[in-house]
Amino acid sequence: MREVSTKRIIAEVRDSAIRANYELGEDVVRAFQDALEYEESPVARDILGQLMENAAIAREERTPICQDTGVAVIFVELGQEVSIVGGDLKSALEEGIRQGYEDGFLRKSVCHPFSRQNTGDNTPIIVHFDVVPGDKLKIWVVPKGGGSENMSQLFMLPPSAGWAGIREKVIDTMEKAGPNPCPPTIVGVGIGGNFEQSALMAKKALLRPLGTKNQDLELAKLEEELLTEINRTGIGPQGLGGRVTSLAVHILMMPCHIASLPLAVNVQCHASRHLEIVL
């Protein structure tokens, strides 16, 4: 067994929470730049420029890109030959987030559902564990904002709905979201599995870097089709009208029950933040 200490996990998660919030991914900045190639609206072009300026200021001044530094979502792939020493893994992840949000001056955005009292340290975290072959521990730190999460939807479609039904629901979700989720957005789509699995796939789909193609050629084609349709709505950056409503659509798919066609749409704002740690 290969040993990984909780001390190291805490330090890495802490740093990643801070870095993810200060440094917008190069892939997103490149996507803004590419969007300028085909955005026609002068107001929208102005906005894309300001988003690039914002990313540069945040990186330089060590300030969050967006004040909504999110709920801390964490994906874990634990190699089955890894042994965690010095404490338990979940507590270590939570401690890393607690320290990162405090030390990095990140906003604590977690509260009681009814009283709305803030928990004060951005915990509890939302964590998804997966056990895989090998001796590596992979952790993705994904701060997820509330504005875009609120526009996300899940549908349990009848199998007869097929691709046409899926397409209609995805476009409808983005039309209804309009300016609310801070377009230009990235759209994570989970197809198949079951109720919770479709939602998990939709979120996981967002981790794929922008500008990369889906390895499944059929899905790659469907992603293009959805993106074109979404961008025909004219919603545009910040919903003020324009060609670039979404930067990308990413799909993950798996088989499902013979009675079902689950579909989840997870909307991601342009401040798409995620960092991968390999230990």
Binding site: E40, S41, P42, V43, D46, I47, Q50, L51, E53, N54, A55, I57, A58, E61, R62, T63, P64, I65, C66, Q67, D68, T69, F105, L106, R107, K108, S109, R116, N118, G120, G145, G146, G147, N150, G178, P179, N180, P181, C182, R232, T233, G234, I235, G236, Q238, G239, L240, G241, G242, R243, C269, H270, A271
Partner: protein, 185 residues
Amino acid sequence: MNDVFHLETPLSGEDVASLKSGDRVTISGVLYTARDAAHRRLVELIEAGKELPIPVKDQIIYYVGPSPAPPGKVIGAAGPTTSYRMDPYAPRLLELGLKGMIGKGRRSQEVKEAMIKHKAVYMAAIGGAGALMARAIKEVRVVAYDELGPEAIRELKVEKLPVVVVNDIYGNDLYVEGQKQYRIA
């Protein structure tokens, strides 16, 4: 593109009447922050007939929950939050003479009607550009509900905060007009 106008707070009836949907505006002066929990409390006070912790008449409320100020700065990132969550409360504040709201995203029909009736405007700031927006904020003072953390009501002194007028007092809506212009049927 429309010219950029400049506004000083508090707003006059003339200021508000001069604004049209699509205008780009910079704002200087005092703004008050309030989002979900603060709105709930303000409306509870109004319903109980009690005094509010901030002046509302002729003022602008900015829907924002900033990230904490690091050493040497007055505020962290400070972009707008989504406005529809304040829709159930906004008409009560408009009745009291609130003249402006800054946020992002569409408003309800009820709020739009209240804006026409009480002569107030809704303006959008760029969502997700919190580091950029913070540059316009020069002073910050918590005036109420400190225990709400990011949701506390703050008085912000701003210089040339950039916004776009979405809903004017004439019933125009930039979200509807802007999208219509670029929609491909």
